[in-house]
Symmetry: C2
Subunit: 336 residues, 2 copies
């Protein structure tokens, strides 16, 4: 299958958008060569595996490609980085045809095109199940320092972009299409499903928040509770979250059965790929306007305090940071 | 298992060498942040999968880690890049314990330490079998331009570092320990096995050859025939190889049964992770000295000609470039 694989790679590369100006040597050599005027880069790796992060045929193959690249780009969004290059390690099971793999590639190409990413290299190997490990490199934009998880200060406002709980609700819809509540409108249903099948990394918001004075950011891939916990620990602050202020995805309550259960999906469900940000309260108004320009809301959901470092609590003191999410999705424990 | 995974990552990171000066933010944030004085970087991704590139328990777990990182670094060697950062996506099957995964990490750490690589990030997910996708970033050393596959000129000498055929011979030894020829000495046997269990990326030779006027380089991961074919196609030249000049690994002929069959292993066997280089013949003497300083030979095995572009032939005109290697190892079809 060696020569077939080289053909496959050539066909995959054909479908990708042309590499951007930073790429001096793209796919097809031992390594890609990139050049950057900026000194600092942000690099992340994120893998998704069939049966762990998605199932077939519930996920159409292009959606697998979209999700793999969007998930990695979400990490760059959380750094306030400008997306640059992506490198894809594709594990291909024998049960998939070359056309199937090209359909995965179409999903990668769609996101790469939309987000301005150069897919500059990759590797294709046989594997027992479909899997994609995506490494993304982002670049510090001049004058906009990259933002880590570790800079939150007591007194900071805590805010999230977009809506929460939609990705977990969409998983329910995908797992049991016939069990979906009848009152869910077609458009609401479509938008919920898109949280799994076409997640949108909040790159524009990440840049706007980094430029607007964010002290700390993280993307919400493991659920608000767990990810807020990561940020709280890295920053050495406590976070207090007003659960009533969580911006719940439209339709999540219908799917979950109640608003309270939709809030549980938001806290523990993961994969919403929204950004959680801590910033000085006086910067919130401008940040909200800047994020709105990117097309989605920024909602204040709490504040950072001098409480027990590393903890996340609701206003009744219930702890949220260890809310696990221990089902087929697996954990996005990755970093860096 | 979410919290267990975060613990595992912390324990893995503990074992790694401390990140180098380029790493501003290492493992533990959404992305690693690196800074480089040089403008150009070389990036490659290389995945190895249990049952495809290695089998358990024939491969001790640290050897899996060593092989994964060494294979990716070999691509950087072929660019003449200075190794910089590595990012690891680890797929962990349920059958392996945390201690098992740490043993894989020990192998990664050993190579990272020896080669001066900062493991700056990673991702751990459940997967059906043990798999590692390794992204490595290398840096152009000031004054030593990165070398692609595409610059060979008719008249160039073709040379290889080290020895060939040893990795394929070692696979035979691993697959059938009892069937090994009795006359193989312990030390020879140990050195052959190391070609699989502790492969050494030729980073010092790659830098020396890049500095010494190499026109084109590639690492030999798919076998001399296939990889010479990649280089010949990228450069638009023909390569003629004198099979009698191939530097065969000591013991390969005993394992293969004859010298001729050992040459077949060298041409079609792959995973030797030596460098194939094209350079002007007048540079060969100095290049040979420079590579010898790194501790291994450089052997002239042929020349680049104006024959049919993309072809590789022996001196009898037999074509070598499509020699496949279609067994459990799978194809290292990756690039960039």
């Amino acid at each position: 299958m060696a020569s077939g694989e080289f053909d496959l790679i050539a066909r995959l590369v054909e479908r990708l958008p042309p590499p951007g100006p930073r790429v001096r040597v793209g796919s097809g050599d031992d390594a890609a060569v990139t050049e950057s005027a900026q000194a600092a880069t942000a690099t992340t790796v994120d893998a998704i595996v069939e049966g762990v992060h998605f199932t077939l045929p519930e996920f159409p193959l292009p959606a697998v490609g979209r999700k793999a690249l969007a998930g990695a780009l979400s990490d760059l969004a959380a750094m306030g980085a400008e997306p640059g290059e992506a490198y894809i390690a594709l594990g291909a099971p024998e049960g998939l045809t070359e056309e199937d793999l090209l359909a995965v590639g179409d999903g990668l190409a769609e996101v790469a095109e939309r987000e301005g990413v150069s897919v500059a290299g990759g590797d294709v190997t046989r594997a027992p199940v479909l899997s994609l490990a995506v490494t993304c490199v982002g670049h510090e934009r001049p004058g906009i320092a990259l933002v880590t998880r570790g800079g939150a200060q007591p007194g900071d406002a805590v805010a999230v972009t977009g809506e929460l709980g939609g990705a977990a609700a969409a998983l329910s819809l995908l797992a049991d299409a016939s069990g979906a509540p009848k009152k869910l409108g077609d458009e609401t249903r479509r938008r919920l499903l898109a949280r799994q099948l076409d997640p949108r990394p909040r790159l524009a918001a990440g840049l706007a928040l980094a430029a607007g004075g964010a002290n700390a950011m993280i993307d919400i891939s493991d659920g608000l509770g767990a990810d807020a916990g990561h940020l709280a620990r890295a920053s050495g602050v406590a976070l207090v979250v007003e659960l009533g202020h969580l911006p719940l995805a439209e339709g999540a309550a219908e799917v979950a059965g109640s608003e309270e259960r939709a809030r549980e999906l938001a806290v523990a469900g993961g994969e919403d790929f929204e950004l959680l940000v801590c910033l000085p309260p006086e910067g919130l108004e401008n940040a909200t306007k800047a994020v709105a320009d990117a097309g989605y809301p920024l909602t204040r959901i709490g504040e950072a305090t001098e409480g027990e470092p590393g903890t996340v609590s609701d206003t009744d003191g219930r702890r949220l940071e260890s809310e696990g999410f221990d089902h087929m999705r697996g954990s996005r424990a990755g970093s860096g």
